[in-house]
Protein backbone atom coordinates (compact mmCIF):
# COMPACT_ATOMS: atom_id res chain seq x y z
CA UNK A 1 0.00 0.00 0.00
CA UNK A 2 1.13 3.56 -0.66
CA UNK A 3 1.61 5.84 2.33
CA UNK A 4 -1.50 7.81 1.41
CA UNK A 5 -3.57 4.68 1.13
CA UNK A 6 -2.23 3.36 4.44
CA UNK A 7 -3.14 6.59 6.16
CA UNK A 8 -6.59 6.56 4.56
CA UNK A 9 -7.13 2.95 5.67
CA UNK A 10 -6.07 3.91 9.18
CA UNK A 11 -8.61 6.75 9.22
CA UNK A 12 -11.26 4.36 7.94
CA UNK A 13 -10.49 1.79 10.64
CA UNK A 14 -10.57 4.52 13.27
CA UNK A 15 -13.98 5.82 12.18
CA UNK A 16 -15.40 2.30 12.25
CA UNK A 17 -13.79 1.86 15.68
CA UNK A 18 -15.30 5.14 16.88
CA UNK A 19 -18.74 3.99 15.70
CA UNK A 20 -18.41 0.79 17.72
CA UNK A 21 -16.93 2.43 20.80
CA UNK A 22 -19.55 5.15 21.10
CA UNK A 23 -22.51 2.85 20.49
CA UNK A 24 -21.01 0.31 22.91
CA UNK A 25 -20.75 3.06 25.52
CA UNK A 26 -24.40 4.00 25.11
CA UNK A 27 -25.48 0.36 25.38
CA UNK A 28 -23.33 -0.17 28.46
CA UNK A 29 -25.26 2.61 30.20
CA UNK A 30 -28.16 0.15 30.42
CA UNK A 31 -26.29 -1.98 32.95
CA UNK A 32 -28.63 -2.38 35.97
CA UNK A 33 -31.24 -0.23 34.20
CA UNK A 34 -32.94 -2.80 31.96
CA UNK A 35 -36.69 -3.53 32.16
CA UNK A 36 -35.91 -7.04 33.49
CA UNK A 37 -32.82 -9.03 34.26
CA UNK A 38 -32.66 -11.00 30.98
CA UNK A 39 -32.59 -7.69 29.13
CA UNK A 40 -29.81 -6.33 31.35
CA UNK A 41 -27.83 -9.39 30.39
CA UNK A 42 -28.57 -9.05 26.69
CA UNK A 43 -27.81 -5.33 26.53
CA UNK A 44 -24.49 -5.67 28.35
CA UNK A 45 -23.69 -8.59 26.06
CA UNK A 46 -24.30 -6.49 22.95
CA UNK A 47 -22.33 -3.63 24.55
CA UNK A 48 -19.43 -6.01 25.08
CA UNK A 49 -19.53 -7.11 21.44
CA UNK A 50 -19.30 -3.48 20.37
CA UNK A 51 -16.41 -2.73 22.74
CA UNK A 52 -14.67 -5.81 21.32
CA UNK A 53 -15.31 -4.54 17.80
CA UNK A 54 -13.99 -1.10 18.77
CA UNK A 55 -10.80 -2.70 20.02
CA UNK A 56 -10.27 -4.58 16.77
CA UNK A 57 -10.85 -1.57 14.52
CA UNK A 58 -8.98 0.93 16.72
CA UNK A 59 -6.17 -1.56 17.30
CA UNK A 60 -5.78 -1.98 13.55
CA UNK A 61 -5.96 1.78 13.01
CA UNK A 62 -3.28 2.29 15.67
CA UNK A 63 -1.06 -0.31 14.05
CA UNK A 64 -1.30 1.46 10.69
CA UNK A 65 -0.68 4.86 12.28
CA UNK A 66 2.38 3.47 14.05
CA UNK A 67 4.57 5.16 16.63
CA UNK A 68 3.14 5.03 20.14
CA UNK A 69 -0.46 5.06 18.96
CA UNK A 70 -2.62 2.36 20.59
CA UNK A 71 -6.30 1.51 20.84
CA UNK A 72 -6.25 3.34 24.16
CA UNK A 73 -4.53 6.52 23.01
CA UNK A 74 -7.18 6.68 20.28
CA UNK A 75 -10.06 6.07 22.67
CA UNK A 76 -8.85 8.12 25.62
CA UNK A 77 -6.72 10.94 24.29
CA UNK A 78 -8.67 12.47 21.46
CA UNK A 79 -11.20 15.25 21.96
CA UNK A 80 -14.66 15.65 20.50
CA UNK A 81 -13.53 17.21 17.19
CA UNK A 82 -11.21 14.28 16.47
CA UNK A 83 -13.85 11.61 16.99
CA UNK A 84 -15.38 10.50 13.70
CA UNK A 85 -18.31 8.31 14.73
CA UNK A 86 -21.70 8.72 13.11
CA UNK A 87 -24.01 11.02 15.05
CA UNK A 88 -26.73 8.41 15.49
CA UNK A 89 -24.39 6.35 17.69
CA UNK A 90 -23.78 9.15 20.19
CA UNK A 91 -27.42 10.11 20.84
CA UNK A 92 -28.32 9.51 24.52
CA UNK A 93 -29.81 6.11 25.23
CA UNK A 94 -33.31 7.51 25.75
CA UNK A 95 -36.01 5.07 26.78
CA UNK A 96 -35.99 1.37 25.92
CA UNK A 97 -37.92 2.03 22.70
CA UNK A 98 -35.32 4.56 21.56
CA UNK A 99 -32.41 2.25 22.35
CA UNK A 100 -33.97 -0.73 20.60
CA UNK A 101 -35.20 1.24 17.57
CA UNK A 102 -31.73 2.70 17.05
CA UNK A 103 -30.23 -0.74 17.54
CA UNK A 104 -32.56 -2.36 15.06
CA UNK A 105 -31.97 0.27 12.37
CA UNK A 106 -28.21 0.02 12.94
CA UNK A 107 -28.24 -3.79 13.03
CA UNK A 108 -29.92 -3.95 9.62
CA UNK A 109 -27.26 -1.57 8.36
CA UNK A 110 -24.40 -3.41 10.07
CA UNK A 111 -25.44 -6.70 8.51
CA UNK A 112 -25.25 -5.25 4.99
CA UNK A 113 -22.14 -3.23 5.75
CA UNK A 114 -20.21 -6.15 7.25
CA UNK A 115 -21.25 -8.51 4.45
CA UNK A 116 -19.71 -6.05 2.02
CA UNK A 117 -16.65 -5.42 4.20
CA UNK A 118 -15.91 -9.15 4.20
CA UNK A 119 -15.03 -8.65 0.55
CA UNK A 120 -12.55 -5.86 1.30
CA UNK A 121 -9.14 -6.21 -0.31
CA UNK A 122 -7.72 -5.30 3.10
CA UNK A 123 -7.37 -8.70 4.77
CA UNK A 124 -7.49 -7.32 8.31
CA UNK A 125 -10.72 -5.38 7.76
CA UNK A 126 -12.24 -8.41 6.05
CA UNK A 127 -11.29 -10.61 9.00
CA UNK A 128 -12.81 -8.19 11.52
CA UNK A 129 -16.01 -8.14 9.46
CA UNK A 130 -16.17 -11.93 9.46
CA UNK A 131 -15.95 -12.04 13.22
CA UNK A 132 -18.36 -9.13 13.78
CA UNK A 133 -21.04 -10.33 11.40
CA UNK A 134 -21.74 -13.41 13.52
CA UNK A 135 -22.53 -11.15 16.46
CA UNK A 136 -24.58 -8.82 14.30
CA UNK A 137 -26.80 -11.66 13.08
CA UNK A 138 -27.65 -12.40 16.68
CA UNK A 139 -28.12 -8.70 17.55
CA UNK A 140 -30.47 -8.29 14.62
CA UNK A 141 -32.59 -11.30 15.52
CA UNK A 142 -33.09 -9.79 18.92
CA UNK A 143 -33.64 -6.16 17.94
CA UNK A 144 -36.02 -7.13 15.13
CA UNK A 145 -38.07 -9.20 17.59
CA UNK A 146 -38.26 -6.14 19.82
CA UNK A 147 -39.65 -4.03 16.97
CA UNK A 148 -42.40 -6.61 16.51
CA UNK A 149 -43.14 -6.76 20.23
CA UNK A 150 -43.15 -3.00 20.82
CA UNK A 151 -44.83 -2.19 17.52
CA UNK A 152 -47.66 -4.60 18.26
CA UNK A 153 -47.81 -4.62 22.08
CA UNK A 154 -49.70 -1.82 23.83
CA UNK A 155 -50.75 1.64 22.85
CA UNK A 156 -47.93 3.00 24.97
CA UNK A 157 -45.27 0.79 23.41
CA UNK A 158 -46.43 1.76 19.90
CA UNK A 159 -46.45 5.45 20.80
CA UNK A 160 -42.96 5.25 22.26
CA UNK A 161 -41.62 3.31 19.28
CA UNK A 162 -43.22 5.74 16.84
CA UNK A 163 -41.67 8.66 18.73
CA UNK A 164 -38.26 6.97 18.72
CA UNK A 165 -38.40 6.52 14.94
CA UNK A 166 -39.36 10.18 14.48
CA UNK A 167 -36.45 11.29 16.65
CA UNK A 168 -33.91 9.05 14.92
CA UNK A 169 -34.99 9.40 11.30
CA UNK A 170 -32.92 12.42 10.33
CA UNK A 171 -29.72 10.82 11.57
CA UNK A 172 -30.05 7.86 9.21
CA UNK A 173 -28.93 9.42 5.89
CA UNK A 174 -25.42 9.70 7.34
CA UNK A 175 -25.25 5.89 7.33
CA UNK A 176 -25.39 5.90 3.54
CA UNK A 177 -23.22 8.93 2.80
CA UNK A 178 -19.84 8.57 1.11
CA UNK A 179 -17.14 11.18 1.57
CA UNK A 180 -13.87 11.66 -0.28
CA UNK A 181 -11.96 9.27 1.99
CA UNK A 182 -14.41 6.43 1.51
CA UNK A 183 -14.65 7.02 -2.25
CA UNK A 184 -10.89 6.78 -2.57
CA UNK A 185 -10.83 3.58 -0.50
CA UNK A 186 -13.77 2.17 -2.43
CA UNK A 187 -11.85 2.70 -5.66
CA UNK A 188 -8.95 0.77 -4.07
CA UNK A 189 -11.30 -2.11 -3.17
CA UNK A 190 -10.92 -1.46 0.57
CA UNK A 191 -14.05 0.41 1.67
CA UNK A 192 -17.73 -0.45 1.44
CA UNK A 193 -20.02 1.40 -0.96
CA UNK A 194 -22.49 2.82 1.54
CA UNK A 195 -24.77 4.24 -1.14
CA UNK A 196 -25.41 0.73 -2.42
CA UNK A 197 -26.68 -0.36 1.00
CA UNK A 198 -29.59 2.04 1.15
CA UNK A 199 -32.09 0.22 -1.08
CA UNK A 200 -31.71 -3.22 0.54
CA UNK A 201 -31.74 -1.56 3.98
CA UNK A 202 -35.04 0.20 3.19
CA UNK A 203 -36.56 -3.04 1.96
CA UNK A 204 -35.62 -4.89 5.14
CA UNK A 205 -36.77 -2.10 7.46
CA UNK A 206 -40.06 -1.62 5.60
CA UNK A 207 -40.75 -5.35 5.76
CA UNK A 208 -40.23 -5.40 9.52
CA UNK A 209 -42.43 -2.42 10.27
CA UNK A 210 -45.13 -3.68 7.90
CA UNK A 211 -45.69 -6.37 10.55
CA UNK A 212 -46.38 -3.69 13.17
CA UNK A 213 -48.79 -0.83 13.75
CA UNK A 214 -46.16 1.90 13.54
CA UNK A 215 -45.47 3.85 10.37
CA UNK A 216 -42.08 4.81 9.03
CA UNK A 217 -41.51 8.58 9.15
CA UNK A 218 -41.30 10.52 5.91
CA UNK A 219 -37.83 11.58 4.82
CA UNK A 220 -37.24 15.25 5.43
CA UNK A 221 -34.84 16.61 7.99
CA UNK A 222 -31.29 15.28 8.10
CA UNK A 223 -28.25 16.04 10.20
CA UNK A 224 -24.70 15.13 9.19
CA UNK A 225 -21.31 15.82 10.69
CA UNK A 226 -19.93 12.84 12.57
CA UNK A 227 -17.26 12.01 10.00
CA UNK A 228 -15.88 15.56 10.12
CA UNK A 229 -15.99 15.79 13.91
CA UNK A 230 -19.00 18.11 13.90
CA UNK A 231 -20.88 16.34 16.67
CA UNK A 232 -23.96 16.79 18.81
CA UNK A 233 -23.39 18.35 22.22
CA UNK A 234 -23.87 14.92 23.76
CA UNK A 235 -20.51 13.54 22.66
CA UNK A 236 -18.41 15.82 24.86
CA UNK A 237 -20.22 14.62 27.96
CA UNK A 238 -19.86 11.03 26.90
CA UNK A 239 -16.10 11.54 26.41
CA UNK A 240 -15.67 13.32 29.72
CA UNK A 241 -17.01 10.20 31.38
CA UNK A 242 -15.26 7.68 29.15
CA UNK A 243 -11.88 9.42 29.47
CA UNK A 244 -12.07 10.62 33.06
CA UNK A 245 -9.46 8.35 34.66
CA UNK A 246 -6.85 8.75 31.94
CA UNK A 247 -7.34 12.52 31.87
CA UNK A 248 -7.14 12.84 35.67
CA UNK A 249 -4.05 10.62 35.97
CA UNK A 250 -2.16 11.01 32.69
CA UNK A 251 0.70 8.74 31.69
CA UNK A 252 -0.20 5.79 33.93
CA UNK A 253 -0.64 2.10 33.20
CA UNK A 254 -3.99 0.64 34.30
Amino acid sequence: MTTDLTRATADYAVRLGDDALILGHRLSEWCSNGPFLEEDLALTNVALDYIGRARMFLGYGAQLIGGDCTEDTLAYQRDCREFTNLLINELPRGDFAFTMARQYLLDEHALLFLEALQGSSDAELAAIATKAIKETRYHLRRSREWMLRLGDGTEESRRRLQQALEDIWGYLPELFAMDELERELLAAGIAVDREALEAPWRRAVSATFAETDVTLPADGWRVDGGRTGYHTEHLGHLLSELQFVQRAYPGCQW
Binding site: S32, P35, L242, Y249, G251
Partner: protein
Protein backbone atom coordinates in the same frame (compact mmCIF):
# COMPACT_ATOMS: atom_id res chain seq x y z
CA UNK B 1 -55.47 -32.71 58.97
CA UNK B 2 -51.76 -32.82 59.67
CA UNK B 3 -49.51 -30.62 61.71
CA UNK B 4 -45.84 -30.66 62.75
CA UNK B 5 -46.53 -33.03 65.64
CA UNK B 6 -48.44 -35.67 63.67
CA UNK B 7 -46.56 -38.97 63.36
CA UNK B 8 -46.79 -38.73 59.62
CA UNK B 9 -44.96 -35.40 59.51
CA UNK B 10 -42.40 -36.65 62.00
CA UNK B 11 -41.70 -39.72 59.93
CA UNK B 12 -41.35 -37.64 56.82
CA UNK B 13 -39.00 -35.30 58.56
CA UNK B 14 -36.91 -38.13 59.95
CA UNK B 15 -36.65 -39.67 56.49
CA UNK B 16 -35.74 -36.26 55.12
CA UNK B 17 -32.98 -35.77 57.68
CA UNK B 18 -31.70 -39.30 56.95
CA UNK B 19 -31.33 -38.39 53.30
CA UNK B 20 -29.48 -35.20 54.25
CA UNK B 21 -27.20 -37.14 56.59
CA UNK B 22 -26.46 -39.59 53.77
CA UNK B 23 -25.36 -36.61 51.60
CA UNK B 24 -28.22 -37.08 49.15
CA UNK B 25 -29.34 -33.97 47.30
CA UNK B 26 -32.88 -32.73 47.84
CA UNK B 27 -34.65 -31.97 44.55
CA UNK B 28 -37.56 -29.57 43.86
CA UNK B 29 -40.30 -32.22 43.79
CA UNK B 30 -39.09 -34.04 46.91
CA UNK B 31 -40.91 -33.66 50.19
CA UNK B 32 -39.23 -31.10 52.45
CA UNK B 33 -40.12 -29.44 55.74
CA UNK B 34 -41.77 -26.08 55.26
CA UNK B 35 -39.07 -24.43 57.36
CA UNK B 36 -36.37 -25.90 55.10
CA UNK B 37 -38.17 -24.47 52.08
CA UNK B 38 -38.55 -21.04 53.71
CA UNK B 39 -34.97 -20.99 54.88
CA UNK B 40 -33.74 -21.83 51.38
CA UNK B 41 -35.94 -19.21 49.77
CA UNK B 42 -34.51 -16.66 52.18
CA UNK B 43 -30.91 -17.68 51.57
CA UNK B 44 -30.96 -18.25 47.80
CA UNK B 45 -33.00 -15.15 47.06
CA UNK B 46 -30.68 -13.09 49.26
CA UNK B 47 -27.82 -14.47 47.21
CA UNK B 48 -29.65 -13.69 43.93
CA UNK B 49 -30.45 -10.14 45.06
CA UNK B 50 -26.80 -9.67 46.02
CA UNK B 51 -25.68 -10.54 42.51
CA UNK B 52 -28.21 -8.12 41.06
CA UNK B 53 -27.62 -5.21 43.44
CA UNK B 54 -23.87 -5.80 43.07
CA UNK B 55 -24.22 -4.78 39.43
CA UNK B 56 -24.74 -1.19 40.60
CA UNK B 57 -21.39 -0.39 42.28
CA UNK B 58 -19.52 -2.24 39.53
CA UNK B 59 -21.66 -0.91 36.70
CA UNK B 60 -20.83 2.51 38.12
CA UNK B 61 -17.35 2.15 36.55
CA UNK B 62 -18.10 0.48 33.21
CA UNK B 63 -18.42 3.79 31.39
CA UNK B 64 -15.27 5.11 33.14
CA UNK B 65 -12.98 2.06 32.98
CA UNK B 66 -9.46 3.36 32.24
CA UNK B 67 -8.61 1.14 29.24
CA UNK B 68 -10.69 -0.66 26.64
CA UNK B 69 -9.33 -3.97 27.87
CA UNK B 70 -10.44 -3.20 31.45
CA UNK B 71 -13.79 -2.03 30.16
CA UNK B 72 -14.36 -5.28 28.24
CA UNK B 73 -13.34 -7.39 31.23
CA UNK B 74 -15.58 -5.43 33.60
CA UNK B 75 -18.52 -5.67 31.22
CA UNK B 76 -18.00 -9.42 30.95
CA UNK B 77 -17.80 -9.68 34.72
CA UNK B 78 -20.96 -7.68 35.38
CA UNK B 79 -22.70 -9.72 32.74
CA UNK B 80 -21.67 -12.86 34.62
CA UNK B 81 -23.10 -11.45 37.86
CA UNK B 82 -26.33 -10.79 36.05
CA UNK B 83 -26.33 -14.39 34.80
CA UNK B 84 -25.69 -15.62 38.36
CA UNK B 85 -28.68 -13.60 39.51
CA UNK B 86 -30.75 -15.34 36.84
CA UNK B 87 -29.75 -18.90 37.78
CA UNK B 88 -30.29 -18.14 41.43
CA UNK B 89 -33.73 -16.65 40.81
CA UNK B 90 -34.54 -19.80 38.83
CA UNK B 91 -33.26 -21.99 41.67
CA UNK B 92 -35.47 -20.03 44.08
CA UNK B 93 -38.47 -20.36 41.78
CA UNK B 94 -38.16 -24.18 42.01
CA UNK B 95 -39.23 -23.71 45.65
CA UNK B 96 -42.60 -22.32 44.62
CA UNK B 97 -42.17 -18.54 44.58
CA UNK B 98 -42.29 -16.23 41.56
CA UNK B 99 -39.69 -13.73 40.37
CA UNK B 100 -42.22 -10.96 40.83
CA UNK B 101 -42.70 -11.92 44.49
CA UNK B 102 -38.94 -12.02 44.99
CA UNK B 103 -38.50 -8.55 43.51
CA UNK B 104 -41.37 -7.27 45.61
CA UNK B 105 -39.63 -8.60 48.74
CA UNK B 106 -36.41 -6.86 47.71
CA UNK B 107 -38.20 -3.57 47.21
CA UNK B 108 -40.14 -3.76 50.46
CA UNK B 109 -36.99 -4.59 52.42
CA UNK B 110 -38.35 -8.00 53.47
CA UNK B 111 -35.49 -9.68 51.57
CA UNK B 112 -31.88 -8.69 52.14
CA UNK B 113 -28.82 -8.60 49.92
CA UNK B 114 -25.12 -8.58 50.78
CA UNK B 115 -24.51 -5.56 52.91
CA UNK B 116 -21.17 -4.88 51.18
CA UNK B 117 -23.04 -3.40 48.23
CA UNK B 118 -24.27 -0.60 50.46
CA UNK B 119 -20.78 0.87 50.28
CA UNK B 120 -19.98 3.21 47.38
CA UNK B 121 -17.46 2.52 44.59
CA UNK B 122 -15.61 5.84 44.55
CA UNK B 123 -12.45 5.25 42.55
CA UNK B 124 -11.22 2.85 39.89
CA UNK B 125 -9.26 1.02 42.62
CA UNK B 126 -12.58 0.11 44.23
CA UNK B 127 -13.29 -2.10 41.23
CA UNK B 128 -10.02 -3.87 41.98
CA UNK B 129 -10.86 -4.15 45.68
CA UNK B 130 -14.37 -5.43 44.98
CA UNK B 131 -13.04 -8.09 42.62
CA UNK B 132 -10.21 -9.13 44.89
CA UNK B 133 -11.82 -8.91 48.33
CA UNK B 134 -15.57 -9.00 47.82
CA UNK B 135 -15.52 -11.70 45.15
CA UNK B 136 -12.75 -13.41 47.11
CA UNK B 137 -14.97 -13.57 50.19
CA UNK B 138 -17.93 -14.65 48.09
CA UNK B 139 -15.90 -17.52 46.59
CA UNK B 140 -14.87 -18.84 50.00
CA UNK B 141 -18.54 -19.00 50.90
CA UNK B 142 -19.66 -20.36 47.54
CA UNK B 143 -17.05 -23.10 47.35
CA UNK B 144 -18.48 -24.37 50.58
CA UNK B 145 -22.03 -24.09 49.19
CA UNK B 146 -21.21 -26.35 46.25
CA UNK B 147 -21.97 -29.13 48.75
CA UNK B 148 -25.21 -27.59 49.99
CA UNK B 149 -28.10 -30.07 50.35
CA UNK B 150 -30.52 -28.52 47.85
CA UNK B 151 -29.68 -29.82 44.36
CA UNK B 152 -30.50 -26.79 42.19
CA UNK B 153 -28.59 -24.47 44.55
CA UNK B 154 -25.55 -26.77 44.71
CA UNK B 155 -25.42 -27.08 40.92
CA UNK B 156 -25.82 -23.33 40.50
CA UNK B 157 -22.88 -22.83 42.85
CA UNK B 158 -20.62 -25.12 40.83
CA UNK B 159 -21.24 -23.01 37.76
CA UNK B 160 -20.93 -19.75 39.63
CA UNK B 161 -17.65 -20.68 41.32
CA UNK B 162 -15.95 -21.24 37.97
CA UNK B 163 -16.76 -17.71 36.91
CA UNK B 164 -16.07 -16.10 40.27
CA UNK B 165 -12.46 -17.25 40.33
CA UNK B 166 -11.90 -15.32 37.09
CA UNK B 167 -13.52 -12.30 38.74
CA UNK B 168 -11.24 -12.45 41.70
CA UNK B 169 -8.17 -12.71 39.48
CA UNK B 170 -9.20 -9.66 37.47
CA UNK B 171 -9.69 -7.68 40.69
CA UNK B 172 -6.34 -8.74 42.03
CA UNK B 173 -4.71 -7.89 38.72
CA UNK B 174 -6.17 -4.37 38.88
CA UNK B 175 -4.70 -3.96 42.38
CA UNK B 176 -1.32 -5.35 41.31
CA UNK B 177 -1.15 -2.99 38.34
CA UNK B 178 -2.01 -0.02 40.56
CA UNK B 179 0.64 -1.04 43.10
CA UNK B 180 3.26 -1.10 40.32
CA UNK B 181 2.16 2.35 39.16
CA UNK B 182 2.54 5.94 40.37
CA UNK B 183 2.38 7.15 43.98
CA UNK B 184 -1.17 8.32 43.35
CA UNK B 185 -2.18 4.92 42.01
CA UNK B 186 -0.66 3.12 45.01
CA UNK B 187 -2.45 5.50 47.37
CA UNK B 188 -5.70 4.88 45.49
CA UNK B 189 -5.27 1.11 45.86
CA UNK B 190 -4.44 1.34 49.57
CA UNK B 191 -7.40 3.63 50.20
CA UNK B 192 -9.74 1.14 48.52
CA UNK B 193 -8.40 -1.69 50.68
CA UNK B 194 -8.77 0.46 53.80
CA UNK B 195 -12.43 0.98 52.98
CA UNK B 196 -13.32 -2.51 51.74
CA UNK B 197 -11.36 -4.78 54.09
CA UNK B 198 -13.64 -4.69 57.14
CA UNK B 199 -16.91 -4.76 55.19
CA UNK B 200 -15.52 -7.83 53.36
CA UNK B 201 -15.03 -9.60 56.69
CA UNK B 202 -18.58 -8.64 57.63
CA UNK B 203 -19.83 -10.50 54.55
CA UNK B 204 -19.50 -13.78 56.46
CA UNK B 205 -22.16 -12.64 58.93
CA UNK B 206 -22.27 -12.56 62.72
CA UNK B 207 -20.17 -14.80 64.95
CA UNK B 208 -21.47 -18.38 64.99
CA UNK B 209 -22.90 -17.96 68.48
CA UNK B 210 -24.99 -14.99 67.36
CA UNK B 211 -26.09 -16.17 63.95
CA UNK B 212 -29.87 -16.50 63.87
CA UNK B 213 -30.14 -19.11 61.14
CA UNK B 214 -26.85 -20.97 61.48
CA UNK B 215 -27.50 -24.01 63.67
CA UNK B 216 -30.55 -25.26 61.79
CA UNK B 217 -28.91 -24.50 58.44
CA UNK B 218 -25.91 -26.60 59.44
CA UNK B 219 -28.12 -29.55 60.47
CA UNK B 220 -29.93 -29.37 57.16
CA UNK B 221 -26.58 -28.93 55.42
CA UNK B 222 -27.81 -25.81 53.70
CA UNK B 223 -24.66 -24.30 55.18
CA UNK B 224 -21.64 -26.56 55.32
CA UNK B 225 -19.16 -24.45 57.28
CA UNK B 226 -19.73 -21.85 59.95
CA UNK B 227 -19.42 -18.08 59.46
CA UNK B 228 -16.30 -17.90 61.64
CA UNK B 229 -14.56 -20.82 59.90
CA UNK B 230 -15.15 -19.28 56.49
CA UNK B 231 -14.07 -15.83 57.66
CA UNK B 232 -10.82 -17.29 59.00
CA UNK B 233 -10.14 -19.01 55.71
CA UNK B 234 -10.62 -15.72 53.87
CA UNK B 235 -8.33 -13.80 56.24
CA UNK B 236 -5.60 -16.43 55.89
CA UNK B 237 -5.61 -16.31 52.09
CA UNK B 238 -5.90 -12.51 51.87
CA UNK B 239 -2.94 -11.68 54.14
CA UNK B 240 -0.53 -13.41 51.81
CA UNK B 241 -2.09 -11.95 48.68
CA UNK B 242 -1.84 -8.44 50.14
CA UNK B 243 1.80 -8.92 51.09
CA UNK B 244 2.81 -10.07 47.63
CA UNK B 245 1.74 -6.78 46.04
CA UNK B 246 2.65 -4.50 48.93
CA UNK B 247 -0.79 -3.63 50.29
CA UNK B 248 -1.35 -3.24 54.03
CA UNK B 249 -4.54 -4.68 55.51
CA UNK B 250 -5.95 -2.09 57.93
CA UNK B 251 -5.86 -4.19 61.09
CA UNK B 252 -3.10 -3.66 63.70
CA UNK B 253 -4.07 -6.94 65.41
CA UNK B 254 -3.44 -9.05 62.36
CA UNK B 255 -0.63 -11.52 63.11
CA UNK B 256 0.29 -15.14 62.53
CA UNK B 257 -0.63 -17.46 65.38
CA UNK B 258 1.72 -20.42 65.28
CA UNK B 259 -0.35 -22.43 67.72
CA UNK B 260 -3.63 -22.09 65.81
CA UNK B 261 -1.99 -22.25 62.41
CA UNK B 262 -4.06 -19.21 61.40
CA UNK B 263 -3.86 -15.44 61.44
CA UNK B 264 -5.37 -13.73 64.45
CA UNK B 265 -7.30 -10.60 63.55
CA UNK B 266 -9.08 -7.73 65.28
CA UNK B 267 -12.72 -7.56 66.23
CA UNK B 268 -15.20 -6.42 63.61
CA UNK B 269 -17.10 -3.23 64.36
CA UNK B 270 -20.45 -4.91 64.92
CA UNK B 271 -22.16 -1.57 65.45
CA UNK B 272 -21.28 -0.66 61.90
CA UNK B 273 -22.41 -4.10 60.72
CA UNK B 274 -25.80 -3.65 62.39
CA UNK B 275 -26.16 -0.06 61.23
CA UNK B 276 -25.54 -0.95 57.59
CA UNK B 277 -27.79 -4.01 57.71
CA UNK B 278 -30.60 -2.02 59.24
CA UNK B 279 -30.54 0.63 56.54
CA UNK B 280 -27.97 3.25 57.51
CA UNK B 281 -25.16 2.27 55.15
CA UNK B 282 -23.91 4.93 52.74
CA UNK B 283 -25.90 3.58 49.78
CA UNK B 284 -28.82 1.48 51.09
CA UNK B 285 -31.54 3.84 49.95
CA UNK B 286 -29.80 4.60 46.66
CA UNK B 287 -29.45 0.90 45.76
CA UNK B 288 -33.10 0.08 46.32
CA UNK B 289 -34.33 3.32 44.76
CA UNK B 290 -32.24 2.54 41.66
CA UNK B 291 -33.67 -0.96 41.39
CA UNK B 292 -37.23 0.28 41.94
CA UNK B 293 -36.80 3.02 39.33
CA UNK B 294 -35.43 0.62 36.69
CA UNK B 295 -38.23 -1.83 37.44
CA UNK B 296 -40.90 0.87 37.20
CA UNK B 297 -39.37 2.37 34.05
CA UNK B 298 -39.50 -1.10 32.53
CA UNK B 299 -43.15 -1.77 33.42
CA UNK B 300 -44.46 -0.62 30.02
CA UNK B 301 -41.94 -2.91 28.29
CA UNK B 302 -43.09 -5.94 30.26
CA UNK B 303 -46.72 -5.02 29.56
CA UNK B 304 -45.93 -4.72 25.85
CA UNK B 305 -44.46 -8.23 25.78
CA UNK B 306 -47.50 -9.67 27.54
CA UNK B 307 -49.89 -7.86 25.18
CA UNK B 308 -47.93 -8.97 22.12
CA UNK B 309 -47.92 -12.60 23.26
CA UNK B 310 -51.67 -12.50 23.95
CA UNK B 311 -52.39 -10.99 20.53
CA UNK B 312 -50.17 -13.56 18.84
CA UNK B 313 -52.13 -16.37 20.47
CA UNK B 314 -55.42 -14.75 19.56
CA UNK B 315 -54.35 -14.41 15.93
CA UNK B 316 -53.15 -18.02 15.89
CA UNK B 317 -56.43 -19.33 17.28
CA UNK B 318 -58.44 -17.21 14.81
CA UNK B 319 -56.40 -18.58 11.95
CA UNK B 320 -56.88 -22.16 13.15
Amino acid sequence: MTNDSSPNEQQLEAAFQARIDAEEKIEPKDWMPERYRKNLIRQISQHAHSEVIGMQPEGNWITRAPTLHRKAVLLAKVQDECGHGLYLYSATETLGITREELIEALHSGAAKYASIFNYPSLTWADIGAIGWLVDGAAIVNQVSLQRTSYGPYARGMVRICKEESFHQRQGYHIMMTLMQGSDEQRAMAQDAVNRFWWPSLMMFGPHDAESAHSAQSMTWKIKRQSNDELRQKFVDQSVEQAEVIGLTLPDPDLKWNEERGHYDFGEIDWDEFNRVISGSGPCNRQRIAHHVAAHEDGAWVREAIAAHEAKKQQRASKAA
